[in-house]
Amino acid sequence: MVAVKSKTSANTITIRFAGDSGDGMQLTGDQFTDTTAVMGNDFATFPDYPAEIRAPQGTLPGVSSFQIQFSDNIIFTPGDQADVLVAMNPAALKVNLKTVKKGGLIIVNENSFGEDHLKKAAWKTNPLADNTLKDFQVLKVALTDLTRNALKDHPLKGQEVDRCKNFFALGMMFWMYDRRFEHTVAWIEKRFAKRPEMVAANIATLKAGFNFADITETLQTQIHVPKAQLEPGVYRKITGNEATAIGFVTAAQLAGKTLFYGSYPITPASSILHELAKHKVYGVKTFQAEDEIAAIGAAIGASFGGQLGITGTSGPGVCLKSEALNLAVMTELPLVVIDVQRAGPSTGMPTKTEQGDLLQVMYGRNGDSPVAVIAPKTPSDCFQMALEAVRLAVKYMTPVIFLSEGYLAEAAEPWKLPEIEKLPKIEIRHPKEEKDPFLPYSRNPETLARPWAVPGTPGLGHRIGGLSKADLTGNVSYDPDNNQKMILLRREKVAKIANDIPDLTVEGPGSGKLLVLGWGGTFGAIYQAISDLTQEGVKVSHAHLNYLNPFPKNLKNVLSRFEKILVPELNMGQLIMILRDHFPGVNFLGLNKMQGHPFSVFEMKNKIRELL
């Protein structure tokens, strides 16, 4: 008998897929996301997985999760807690239980709840049989058996059959949230083009999951999330690291330069190297260096050679690059250093997010060594900020730090694509042969940038290096007054960038009791918290810093209009320390979290309420 099912609608849903590292949860999440994108919802995702490639099967450290929030509203976070958790084994259930809303639905693969697996996940008793899950709705599905059954007439064997079960779970989710499965079917056909038997098996499993959800008595209602009112335009799904890579390729094209990317593999920055390595058709040169130092050294060499030298890494790599970065400061060459921050100190938690490198990139070098620092706030914003990084680096002849975060790097969202023709060209003028002697440390009066003379240009031969430079000639100089003058000049040059960046804008009331001042990837949680609270009638404002050094010129004025400034950061209070230095007397208050996870909207709302 087929049950007659009802259909309701919801505004916002959060799903979390969790399983063993080998269960294909990231892929399952990606597929759900792609379909959700095509169906017109807004969304944000959060892949959360261990640093180990395949931690022992069934254990707690081996759990890999993927969370997606999708909505008919504009959203910026992957959701605090899940409406639905799909747990492929007891370990996934244990690790993720606290991420599920009270009353939420937990779908478990009951085939995996044998003695052995329970023990590996450190469950003393079977949570499906006792009171552990009393606050939730639980749907026990024999995912393994059902998958085997669906494939009994297929030629696949053993492990290959069992590996299809994530598609069974995906099929169920597609039914529950009224999604079409054509997009995933097309993906499977492409992915396994050379193995027709895999295509057939995966599609069969997907459909079996969909049909199972349709007929099982336990799932009574299909939930529809209407399309979001996104701004009209063409969209694609993008992660922060993809947007970063595409952004820098675009910047190089707009500048008419070769992008040279030197990098050493490091989580969570490696996917930028992978992405750039594909783009040879755009003339991109990637160099997988022998270490972090060689990566930045080669990038500096490329910049010296008149092209666009960029290096990318994470916090531990920035430590290693600091001496070379200082060389770029002293020689005043354009350079972009991408730092995709991860939880530290030391090796820390490589796959977890943090904002712990701000003070390092600002101050972590010998001597007085100013560099420009900018930070994207959402995955797609990485594109825009990449263009900015290059624009500032070449215009001011300075290293620019592009301070991204693990969370932004991997999270996906819809990106409204820019109009290509309207992207501004990046102007670069290299000096040419002149009558007068060439002065490599003369300066543009407006920007204080020195000329970028390219080796090979007749008549401009000159020597640069890390030793103290004489004004104008750039010759080695140990003159005390000259040294002080040059240090001040370099500081002034970077400070002048403030004239060339947008003012800080305030969302919400322009003055009042409380301003939340964020930077980087905390944007989503702050934005969401403030829009929720504003709907409740709470008066609170939000400003977000994309530029951390120098600050926007109107920052002081903005701060003066509020009684209290809340500065949420995923560190012990690094921006707040800089702010207190720049703006003494302002009432800055911190909200700090060092758990490797982004802020939840809930945490943010609580803190704001507490301060009002």
Partner: protein, 340 residues
Amino acid sequence: MSEAVLKLPYTKEDFVSGQEVRWCPGCGDYSILATMQRTLSKFDLPIEKYVFVSGIGCSSRFPYYMNTYGFHTIHGRAPTIATGLRCVNPELSIWVITGDGDGLSIGGNHLIHCMRRNVDINILLVNNRIYGLTKGQYSPTSEKGKITKSSPYGTIEQPINALCVAIASEATFIARTLDTDPTHMSYILERAAKHKGVSFVEIYQNCLIFNDKAFVPVTGRETREDRMVYLKDGQPLVFGKKKDKAIRLKGLYPEEVNYTAGGDTKDLLIHNEKDENPHYAYFLTQMEHPEMPVPFGVFRAIEKPTYDEMLDEQIRQAQVKGKGDLKSLIYGPNTWKVGS
């Protein structure tokens, strides 16, 4: 600061920069600098195409004294900067000047990888077997037992052999020369300049302040003819005051034998710098004082595709059907439309 544009043909003086040279009087670096300036002035490459890149140490001041483009970088890292530079500009003649400390200690990693990649640059390793600029500590090439400021009881470290490192890293051009023989040095510099791919040259250099006469037992006036052997391609390894000694193989080891000019060379070792196999070149690097005469000259000169060439070739291949356009980059494979 540079003066008016210099035109070919050049003189040695055209390569002299205005900066006052600050090495100790009598330092071996002077002869290396002068030989370089003289050698380059004979070529017809425009002067603006030369770039000298160095690390830290006495010899690393070299770029300041050359009237070319120059980059005095940081300790040990010159090969990385030269690599990046070469990757974006195929027309330059790039010279890395490094020392035993800079190249083999702090920068050892980069040296190895730069050579194995066969980046088309020339690396001169100026070896004085001591730290000069930091005032006299032992270096990775200092002999075991050496007493220095940082080893008052003698070093307990096995010295590294620069040319062995070059061979292990599969450098395609490997040579050794010395500061006191400008003619030979000039020949080697010319060979290095003309080699396509990485050229690695070790130069024995005297630091008269902290390690004076370190090479005299081999290269000194009295002993050099018996203790040095100049390598000549296709010729036996002849040495001795009267050119009466040569080398032959005894099993896997070299052995000194008597030699008469024009005599039978059948049993003798004949130098072959083009041997693709690294065994022979490695064997030569093991000929060390005092057991054997020390070889000078080109140990190895073979041809292999260079890193920079292959990098450009991959891009050329990718662009056979045209360069990528921004729209397909930004749009990617999957887009969807919202609204009208």
